[in-house]
Amino acid sequence: MLQVSHLQKSFGNHAVLNDIDFEVCKGDVVSIIGASGSGKSTMLRCINLLEEPGGGAILFHGQDITDPKVNVPAYRAKVGMVFQNFNLFNNMTVLENCIVGQVKVAKKKPEEARESAIRYLRQVGMEPFLNAKPRQLSGGQKQRVAIARALAMEPEVLLFDEPTSALDPQMVGEVLSVMEDLAKQGLTMLVVTHEMAFARDVSTHVIYMSEGVIEEEGTPEQIFGAPKSDKTKEFLARFRNTSI
């Protein structure tokens, strides 16, 4: 359902993405791994059109969404995003953060929106904090609200940018199990992650990025079991030494 081809992006003279090609099918959970600064966030942002791609095409259900005629807000409503730095709305409470999109964008009834917001917040354990403002939350709490906000929009595809970076192992477990459930229900996910365990155990497909190109991609077994590229081997070396 999502096809990226020859995607390019540079900031000034600094080429950040180079000829990125891959495909995601419905229900896929794609992990994107790679070094800091290799362009993972930029790629997600391009898919969501928060950055204008410098070249190439992004097909969503066969339609090139870089096409000028595409209704961008409507597209974005179908493609959720959890930001690396959360970007919660500072002027709203936790609950309002999760309601506003449903009401204003998805045009749901307020009470319906409220119920589903509370449902998702409960899933990530943020129910007691409904009335808190973002500035009153801990890092992990913010991250969980950001996840709930994205889920509450019930998108077709979800882009996660390091969704568990601020969470403790226990919470990571809970969030991952929520994500697994969603995957089983057919939600498509692209997950930038540094949790190699997640990439290996949960995802259906792994993309390893290095310096703006896809160095290697394949099933978790291929990437973790038998990486072809030397770079991939080196990158995974520490993880494989310490944790497997």
């Binding site: 000028p68 970007n87 119920e115 409960r122």
Partner: protein, 267 residues
Amino acid sequence: MSISNMNFLERILYLLQRYGVSYLKGAGTTLAIALVSTAIGCLIGFVVGVVQTIPVDKKRDSAAKRGLLRVVKMILKAYVELFRGTPMIVQAVFIYYGLSQMFQIQLGMWSAAFLVVSINTGAYMAESVRGGIISVDPGQMEGAKAIGMTHVQAMKNVILPQAIRNIMPQIGNNLIINIKDTSVLSVISIVDLFFVHKSVAGALYTYFESATIVMAIYLTMTLVTSRLLLLVEKKMDGDANYELVDTMDIGNQLRTIRENDGEGRRG
């Protein structure tokens, strides 16, 4: 006792006794025009500020839309520059007398007064709003866009509420400026507080005494309004703390909501 034998304070009391009502009426006029025009001006400023920050998407927007946006932005820019850039007193004369002389359009003096002050405030507020908008973390706009909001929705729900908080001191400034600047409306026959002062000074030649009175009245008005605005700021900042929600209660709440079909709803 003749005024020539009175001391400063006695003269002030004499003026108050004789012209007290006039001063108060003048103050009322001043306050009414300032409040209404600041409110309208803020609205204008918000609309102009928001339109001016609509990004042009070279690729996605049709040539027609881009052209239109450009024209609208140019008109707004011209509006801001023209009204910010010229003295309000001259604008008032042109609008009230000039329109009448050249196009036989006779605005009432009150409509002219509200019009002139509002569009002036709007021109200044447009710039303040622009400043308020650029001071909001760009991540907020990205968050809003990512859940599918249009530029206008994002502005209305996410950016402006935060920008308004940042420019509240500015709104206070504008209100206070307006309280004082309505004095130029004496050219179109509006008898504001300052015009009362001029009349009294011209009738009794007691400039300092009358000036002391109007300064006190001005100060009272501006102090009260700036105090009120500070309260609004405090209110906007909300509580420093929040109450944890009793999770047992949420289920009940949900049920109640369903029964009342949306009472107590939010957002």
